[in-house]
Symmetry: C2
Subunit: 770 residues, 2 copies
């Protein structure tokens, strides 16, 4: 569906109504504000294909995990993001006919996502009983007041004269499409309506989360001559006001619907009805205009430091802004109990919970574009889950404080539903350790180690210690039975990436220990006591593993080997595959995929990306060429890392090709599944492929460092970086790179490997001679 | 629960009522007749712990397969053996009180399984309102008329005088305990009752099997002075007659319940009601006495050729008879559409379908104890499933007629619900090929190849050809991503057993081809056409694999290596395990089990057992000692093969220990799960461990061969073998072996490696000097 949405630097535009594309567009045009999210479902009734989706941050349900034969250690449930009561609904009746685009096909249909100001707009003309009406709606979830949603719904008659009704409502009778066995998750606690208002309080079964929706509305006609008649409707799970009025030819009626959305994460349930009404009243007092203004001001500020501008390539420009927009509306960093699900607020799939994606693909974005607390909150989220991670380890047979963080979680408990992933894909533990290092390296916040980081590192290192075993055969330590990021293998031995990040964790934990012992001895005493740490014995064991951990290597190809025995597979290249068989996960049996040499996302390259400084350019090139040729990129998390490494070795065309694939993954629906929701977490990877890839940004000896490579198709690439109190603006043109220190103190940095000084307010310009 | 059942050579006896043991006893005392089966549920109401189980051969339901994330090639459903309508029920009311042993604890409770005559008996005394009554029931499923079940239910008053009622009924409202999500499987088609009779016709949802139950009864009082009053009851799913009568002190009333059970496997549904009544009438005309007589005559005949007698060890004697009894009542070989589920007719678990157990553990038993057609029918079952096996291969990406038989099946389709097993545990294919060889080697029925066997062998060999791949690295063919019989590993490379049986299949198929081409050229032309076989090309490819297939070997230990990399595991011995942690599958996480060196059942030993002639005694001994020490025997199929090999290497104590474990697995409930049903298929293994193990029976150059080893505890072991029209009686005593040719022609055979002649009616006696 490449080219379905119109290219525009700041907008996503859908022209014409294509019911078969509606679910995809519902995902693409989703809105969120960090606390809640809403797919681009229509306000009015629509009986065509649609995936209803209203999501509340942190509200989930323990769906059943079903496997063939239960075995000890399997996760007990699969946490599912919940579809919440529908608060956007506005039914429309014209001349006694219910407006439903499934029955009355619209003309001049247009849906626009305005990323600059953060709203969704929809316009169309519709014919009812031979008469034409023009309808437009605008919706936003306030970024300023994150418990408020606002809709402006306007109907203009072109040649109709007669009765219409508008029915804003709240509807509690909702389901999840992908729930097991059609379970209903919500119990309705309260549902009431009065003239001009309605509210609905709903509580999740089992998890006991409460949510309260309170609605109000205003009706505005061009001449205030009609006093609309209002019918209050309330049923068990439905609260509404039916507003009946008379519409003249050429005239317009506008309904403003305001809804406050509260959850028990932030409010005691008993006070919700009152508090919901209060928030609603505040919003209605402010009114639509000023609500919109304050909302768009937040977006203005967001863009001021997180925008990336690409000149000369509107598709790429639109792609990157779409990614940044989604990241900023999914997670705002206000609440350390929240995290970022793979589909954010745009769909039900993947349970909406936390994966290692956060540490591997998102923290870099928030580190560079948001205040330090944002990334820090993501780290503290894991710190708070440490006891659960230790418990999770115990369930599998580990002991003595060994922490295995879950593959997927809502509250710290493992809730993935593929055992081979939960048991074997343990590299996630390393990503969580690496994020601590990454955060401190970027922010310089060394104190984080004593305050939180070291305890997590000790727990993870203890896990690695117990997870390896001594091979008498090899006379080395081995790591058996793992799955790397390449999930097209499982239960492999000595996965290079997993072993690499395990070894690195042990090394970094030793450094972190030394640092804390020396700089904050009292903190060390507390940590030692909390963790029952035996410095001598435990560190000695770690050092032995560091010395003697086995890594597979292929002497002939001179590449790190993804896992032991990989070269026993039939060696084919992705380019040999029949395009009709791709993506292979939609055409091949899982058996065939597992036994093939094809890679979903390349483990070894992921490791090289993380630990780039350890490898010379020739090594990077060799490994890149070997693995890229075997990688089918059937994970949304794959192309970004490959793009970055392609930039690193100067393979501009490959870097650009892979960049487009990550940046426009959803807009061009590469995987033919955008209807299920957007790939939110991979959007952080897209950002990385611009800033770390084309920008060549990294941290080198505590200083910012840039090695830019501008794609040939681009005229200029401009982005900003927040770094230790400074905003650095980077502009890369064909022949010139300029770095500007917009505020904060003067700084040293590297450009193309040369150390430079950059004072406040100054711009450093370097010519590129290639 | 060792010792719970009283030891007796011909009976299983439970004394005293222990509700917590009731489900276990329901399994142990199960009855069957090849066409249906019944757990030892009480006839009268029982509200204590009970697993209701009535099973009809070949009737199943496609339960949902649920996995975390569906992937291509996963089986679409999990076939489940169905709990069928209850036909045994007889409610009893005494003095207005419903008899229910959960509320009125019985005294002198006794349950007896008479294996010699094939019936279940139960006796107890119960106090109702202070009065004592003695109740006894006897039940059998006719082996002569396999659609008839009979119950004799007697109540004797000791000191009660007054009203009682007996209500024989049919009940259609039944469920499976282990069904997914509490689905109901049966729709009631007809349910009616009249004076003295009742019938119920039920149809399975989805699969559309119909079953018809028709009941009748007779009431017998000691003095025919009371005419009982009868109340006809029929509800939507329930058909009954309530028989009210007056019971005097010291008097007895007996109710005979007769039920005919028909299924749509054998009768058109439209004719069932009539046919069911007809069969019932025939049974009732014959009457209880002669029905029992003809039934026990069948058992008499069964025992005449399948009994094994062990002198000097009642526990072992009881154990082996229990196994033989169960095998004979589970499968009679009358119908080639049927097979043998792991739990036979004794429980719901494992779906009751066909596993490789049939070929590996059951065919030897039926070959030696039943007419040739019985084993042949089991082979033809697979022959008929060949098209489905090819289809199953296609689903996974194989082509050109490559057949992958399902891991579990009801109708030829794969219906297991662990993908790692269905995709990887492909050695089952080899067992199916081996069974053809085994059958022909035993019976001399070479014509089977041209008629059926060769097509199956070609399909399987084609699968192996495609399943291996050439390793450039090793310059050999490798077999990646398999699971051997040892299911405590998965996705391993170059599993010795799987590769061994694959290679053997290719070799045997080549031989079979030569045989058919030479002996039945016209049959070959037909087969070539049916299979599209390319003799030159295909056999050349097979020969190349035979020449260059990789087998892992451990040079230091001089053992065949279970799989590549096995020695990288931490090497521990089963004897090092803390007994409190055993069985490990109940104490360890699946993750820990997979990564440990512990073996559920030893692959390599399975292979050595099958291909024993290829290995010298020293090799067998080395491999046995290495693998037995690492095997935890947590599969019911494990101890028998180990016992046989222990016999082979003269390790009498180990052979005996493992024999007891297999032979009394259920009676002593080694795995603490007999309540779920009996391990029917492992019972064939028990027989093997006596006849192949202690008897040392095998086929050598087309002749029977014996190398007996009598366990020290035994005084004598006697068994019979059907072999090519002869019945050979083998008796092994401490110092003497005698072989008697009871009928048929004279024969040559081997005893302790020496060829002997044995004429009809003669006995060969050899002294043992050890």
């Amino acid at each position: 569906m490449k080219g379905y949405y119109k290219t525009d630097p700041w907008k996503i535009i859908e022209e014409g109504f294509h019911p078969e594309m509606n679910e995809a567009s519902e995902s693409i045009f989703s809105l969120g504000n960090g606390s809640m999210g809403q797919r681009a479902n229509f306000e009015e009734q629509y009986s065509g294909p649609s995936l209803q989706g209203t999501y509340l941050a942190g509200i989930y349900y323990p769906d059943k995990t079903r496997v063939g034969w239960w075995k000890n250690g399997y996760p007990e449930y699969f946490a599912k993001v919940l579809n919440a009561p529908n608060w956007i609904g506005i039914d429309v009746e014209i001349d006694g006919v219910m407006l439903d685009l499934h029955h009355q096909s619209p003309s001049q249909f247009m849906r626009v996502l305005n990323m600059h100001q953060g709203y969704l707009e929809r316009k169309f003309t519709v014919e009812v009983n031979g008469k034409q009406l023009e309808i437009s709606s605008r919706r936003f979830l306030s970024m300023k007041r994150d418990e408020t949603g606002v809709i402006r719904y306007a109907i203009r008659s072109l040649d109709y004269q007669g009765k219409i009704s508008l029915t804003p409502y709240l509807e509690g009778d909702v389901v999840n499409r992908d729930s097991n066995y059609g379970e209903r998750f919500w119990d309705i606690i309260e549902c009431d309506a009065g003239p001009g208002t309605g509210h609905l309080i709903s509580r999740t079964r089992k998890t006991g989360f409460t949510a309260c929706f309170t609605m109000g509305y205003e009706v505005e006609t061009e001449e205030d001559i009609y006093t609309p008649e209002v019918e209050v409707i309330h049923k068990e799970q439905y609260a509404a006001n039916r507003v009946l009025l008379h519409l003249d030819k050429g005239k317009e009626v506008v309904l403003y619907k305001y809804v406050s959305v509260l959850t028990s994460l932030n409010h005691p349930p008993a006070a919700m009805a009152r508090k919901g009404k209060e928030l609603l009243d505040h919003a209605m007092d402010a009114g639509y205009g000023s609500l919109f203004e304050e909302h768009s001001e937040v977006w203005e500020k967001n863009w001021a430091h997180s925008d990336i501008s690409i000149e000369g390539d509107t598709a790429a420009q639109q792609g990157i802004r779409f990614n940044i927009f989604q990241l900023n509306q999914t997670y705002t960093g206000r609440d350390e109990r929240l995290n970022i699900g793979p589909k954010g607020f745009t769909g039900e799939k993947y349970g909406g919970s936390t994966y290692w994606d956060t540490e591997a693909y998102l923290i870099p974005f928030y580190l560079s574009t948001a205040p330090e607390e944002v990334a820090r909150n993501l780290l503290i989220y894991r710190y708070k889950h440490l006891p659960k991670a230790i418990e999770n380890g115990e369930k599998l047979g580990f002991s003595g404080g060994a922490a295995l963080y879950p593959m997927v979680t809502m509250n710290g408990e493992e809730c993935h539903n593929e055992w081979e992933i939960t048991f074997e894909e343990i590299h996630r533990n390393g990503a969580i350790a690496f994020a601590i290092y990454n955060y401190i390296r970027y922010t310089g916040d060394d104190a984080y180690l004593a305050a939180y980081g070291l305890e997590v590192l000790i727990g993870i290192s203890r896990f690695w210690k117990q997870r390896v075993n001594w091979s008498e055969e090899k006379q080395q330590f081995v790591m058996l039975g793992v799955t790397g990021p390449n999930e097209y293998e499982n239960n492999v031995n000595n996965n290079w990436y997993t072993s690499k990040i395990a070894l690195w964790t042990l090394e970094y934990t030793l450094k972190a220990l030394s640092h804390v012992i020396e700089s904050e001895p009292e903190a060390y005493i507390r940590i030692k006591k909390n963790t029952g740490f035996d410095l001598e014995k435990e560190t000695e064991a770690w050092k032995e593993i560091i010395d003697k951990l086995y890594f597979p290597y292929h002497g002939e190809e001179k590449v790190f080997l993804q896992q032991e025995g990989y070269m026993d597979k039939e060696q084919r290249l992705a380019s040999d595959l029949d395009p009709a068989e791709r993506p292979i996960n939609q055409h091949w049996s899982w058996d065939r995929i597992l036994r093939s040499c094809f890679i979903k996302q390349a483990d070894v390259l992921q490791g090289i990306y993380l630990f780039e400084d350890e490898f010379d350019l020739e090594t990077i090139r060799r490994n890149f060429e070997f693995y890229e040729a075997r990688t089918v990129h059937e994970s949304s998390l794959s192309p970004c890392v490959h793009s970055i490494l392609a930039s690193r070795i100067g393979n501009e065309s490959k870097a650009y090709e892979l960049y487009l694939r990550t940046s426009r993954l959803d807009l061009d629906d590469y995987n033919n599944e955008v209807r299920e929701g957007l790939h939110i977490t991979s959007m952080g990877g897209t950002w990385m492929s611009v800033v770390h890839g084309f920008g060549g940004m990294k941290i080198r000896e505590g200083l910012l460092s840039f090695d830019p490579l501008l794609p040939l198709k681009w005229e200029a690439l401009t982005f900003k970086i927040l770094y230790r109190g400074r905003t650095v603006k980077v502009q890369i043109k064909r022949n010139q790179v300029s770095l500007e220190n917009l505020d904060g103190e003067g700084m040293e940095l590297y450009l193309y490997g040369v150390k430079k000084q950059l004072e406040t307010g100054r711009t450093l310009v370097a010519e590129i001679t290639s």
